[in-house]
Symmetry: C2
Subunit: 386 residues, 2 copies
C-alpha cells in the first residue's frame, strides 16, 4: 500500500533513467508533462514481454502471459490513481480514440438534448474531436471556459480538462460536475495533465466518464496507451460507438451481433499494443509499489518544486500559472518572446522543457524524479536567457 507520508521531491529518482544533457550527464528533465522519463521497471517489463512472453510463449501469451486481461488489469491500477474503484477503468488506444468513444457514449446517455459544451481552451485533439462528434451525433458544439460554463436543460455533455494544458491551471472539477449534474448533463473529463501528479477523486466527484494519457506523469513511454473511465452507474446502458471485437461479451464466440461486455470491458476496441501496454505496467510501480507515496504526497512534492522554481525566478517574469496551490496542476508556464528559441537554448544548457504556441514555455514538475535543485537550476538558466 502506498504510504501517506509526504515525500521529498525526487524521491524515486533512483528508479529512473534520465535523458542525457549535452555534457553527457543527466539532464534537468522538466518535460514530464509531455513525455515522462523512463522508469527502470518499464524497461524490465518490456524486456520480459519480448523475451519471455512473445518470443517463447507465442500466441498462447494472450492467456498464459495474461495479455488478454491486461486492459482491465492496467485499468484498475490507473483507476486507483484517479479515485476509481475497480472495474470502471480500461487501458488501450490513444487518448484521442478514447475521447471520441467517450463523447459519443456520453451523448447517447442524454438522447433528448442538443448541446455538447466543451472547454474553449481544451487541448487541440479534444476540440477537434468534439467538432467531429457534434457533426456525427447532430449535437451543437458550444465552447466556454470551464469556470464560466453554464450548462442548462439543453446540455447533453460537458467536456472539460482537469488541468489546462497551456497555463497549468487546475479547474474546479467538483464545481463543474455539480453544475453539470444540476442541469442534468453528463461530464467527460480529460485527466491527461492531472493523472499521476495530483489526486483526482472520480468516484467521489461523481464524474461520469473520463479519459487520460499515461505517457506524461505516469511515465508509460512514448505514445503509451490511454485510459478510459466510466462510472459504474452507467455501465448497464453505456452504448459506445467503437464496437470492436475485444469489447464483446464473448469475443471468441464470434457471434453475428455485437453484445457488449459487462461493465467497462465494452470500451475495449481492437487488439491492444501489448509491448506499449506492458511498458506502462512496469512504469506504474513508481506509483503503486509497496513504498510509493500516495498521490497527495506526490502532489505536495510537485507543488514544492513549482514553488522553488517560482521563488528562484527573477521579478518581472510573466508567469501565467496561478500561484495558489489549489489552482495549479503539475506544470508552470511562463510567457516569453521566442518561446521556441528559448526552449532550444535551455536544452543546450541541459534543461529540457517544452514550448507551446504562441509564447509559452512549460516547466513540468514530476516529483518522482525532479529535485529541488533541478527546479532552481531551471529558474536560474531561464533567468540567464531573459
Amino acid at each position: 500500500m502506498p504510504s501517506n507520508s509526504s515525500p521529498e521531491p525526487g524521491f524515486a529518482r533512483h528508479a529512473f533513467v534520465l535523458p542525457r544533457a549535452p555534457d553527457g550527464g543527466d539532464a534537468v528533465y522538466l518535460a514530464g508533462n509531455s513525455l515522462g522519463a523512463q522508469p527502470r521497471a518499464a524497461r524490465d517489463a518490456v524486456l520480459a514481454a519480448v523475451d519471455e512472453q512473445w518470443a517463447r510463449v507465442g500466441v498462447a501469451g494472450w492467456e498464459d502471459s495474461g495479455w488478454w486481461a491486461t486492459p482491465q488489469r492496467l485499468g484498475d491500477r490507473v483507476g486507483a490513481l484517479v479515485g476509481a474503484a475497480p472495474g470502471q477503468t480500461v487501458v488501450g488506444d490513444s487518448t484521442s480514440v478514447q475521447l471520441f468513444g467517450a463523447l459519443i457514449a456520453a451523448a447517447r446517455l442524454r438522447p433528448g438534448r442538443s448541446v455538447l459544451l466543451s472547454d474553449a481552451g481544451h487541448f487541440p485533439t479534444d476540440r477537434y474531436l468534439a467538432t467531429s462528434v457534434a457533426r456525427l451525433t447532430g449535437l451543437t458544439l458550444v465552447t466556454a471556459s470551464p469556470d464560466a460554463m453554464a450548462p442548462d436543460a439543453d446540455t447533453a455533455v460537458v467536456a472539460v480538462p482537469a488541468v489546462d494544458f497551456r497555463t497549468g491551471e487546475r479547474w474546479d472539477l467538483a464545481a463543474i460536475v455539480d453544475r453539470a449534474h444540476a442541469a442534468g448533463a453528463v461530464v467527460v473529463a480529460d485527466l491527461s495533465h492531472a493523472v499521476g501528479v495530483l489526486p483526482v477523486d472520480l468516484d467521489g466527484l461523481g464524474v461520469d466518464l473520463a479519459v487520460g494519457c499515461t505517457y506524461k506523469y505516469l511515465n508509460g513511454g512514448p505514445g503509451a496507451p490511454a485510459f478510459a473511465y466510466v462510472a459504474a452507474r452507467h455501465h448497464d446502458v453505456l452504448d459506445p460507438p467503437l464496437t470492436g471485437w475485444t469489447g464483446h461479451a464473448e469475443p471468441f464466440a464470434m457471434t453475428e451481433a455485437w453484445t457488449p461486455a459487462p461493465g467497462v470491458g465494452r470500451l475495449r476496441v481492437g487488439t491492444p499494443p501489448m509491448l506499449s501496454m506492458l511498458a506502462l505496467d512496469g512504469a506504474l510501480s513508481v506509483f503503486d509499489g509497496s513504498d510509493s507515496p500516495a498521490l497527495p504526497g506526490v502532489h505536495a512534492a510537485s507543488l514544492a518544486l513549482g514553488d522553488a522554481f517560482l521563488e528562484a525566478l527573477p521579478a518581472g517574469v510573466d508567469v501565467v500559472t496561478p500561484r495558489e496551490h489549489g489552482r495549479r496542476g503539475g506544470h508552470v508556464a511562463v510567457r516569453v518572446p521566442d518561446a521556441e528559441g528559448r526552449c532550444a537554448a535551455l536544452a543546450r544548457r541541459g534543461v529540457v522543457v517544452d514550448a507551446r504556441p504562441p509564447d509559452l514555455l512549460r516547466f513540468g514538475f514530476a516529483a518522482p524524479y525532479v529535485t529541488l535543485d533541478d527546479a532552481r537550476v531551471a529558474a536560474r538558466e531561464l533567468a540567464a536567457l531573459l
Copy 2:
C-alpha cells in the same frame, strides 16, 4: 531490393526466435495467421527504442529519433508490400479503429447513397463496426458473400476481406472492385489475413481504402498497430471522422479548427504507441531487407507448405479451404469435432495452431519461418488425433 527468386519455406528461420514446445525445443509454430513469431530484428528495434531513444533522448525523440515521422515511414514500408506507392499508407491504432475511420470516410465519398454492403462472413470486428458505422451515418447495412455481392446505384461502400479469416479462402478482389466501381461504389478492403503472405496490388486493382493487421504475417508483435491505405485520388476530399491532433496539417500550431494534413497523414489520430510501432519497424526487415524474397516468392513458398500439409493429411479429413492455389490465402482450415480440445492436444505435442468456433482448426503457413517438415509434422500429429 527484394529478390525475385522463389525461396525455400523457412528461408528466414534463422532470423526468428520460435516459441517453445513442451519438450523445450522449438514448437512447430503454425499460428502466424494469428500472432507471428518474433523476428530477432524486432527485439533489437524495441531495445534500441527503450535504451537509446526514450531513456536517453527523452521527449526530443519525437524529432531526434524520428518518432513523429514513424506512422508514415512505416506506412510506406507496409504499403510497398501491398502494392501501394509511397504516401498512401499510414501505421497506427488498431485494425478496428482504422476500419471504423475508413468506413465512415468511405461513406462520405458517396453522400447520396444509402447502402453499406459488407461481407456476411467478415471477421467479427468488421461486422460489428459496420453495424456501428451504419447507425452513425444513416446507411443501411446489407451483407452478402463477397463472390455474390451485387452492388448497385444505392451502394455507397463495399467492405470485404482479401482472405476469409475462417476458411482461408482468397476472394477475387479484382472482380469485387470492378463490380463495385461499375456501380459507382467505393471499396474498403481488409487485408489482415493477406498482408505478408500473398501479393496484393492495391494501386493496380484500384482499391479505394484498405486496412490491415501487422501482428499476423508481418510479425510485428502482440497487438502491433494496424495500417490504413487511401488511394491518392481520394486524398484531396477524404473526410475522416477521427480528427485527432496528429492528423492536423500543423499539429503544433494548435489552431482552433482541424485542418487535415495533406494526403494520408490525415488518417493519423492520436499519439501512436511507439514501442509497439518500432517492434514492427524491426520486424519488417524480414520482408524488405536486402536479401528478402519478393511477395510472389513468399506466397509460392506458403502455398508449397499448404500443399505439403494437405498431401500428408489422411483421406477423409474435412478440409474447408479451397485447394486451388488461386483461391487460397496463407492458412488452411480443417473441420474437426471438438476443435478446441484438438487444438490443445496439438499444443501438448508441440504443434501450435488455433481453433475458431464452432469446429475449425487453422494451420497458418508463414513461409519465412515454417519449414516443409513442420507442415508434414503438423499433418501427422493431426492425423494421430483424429
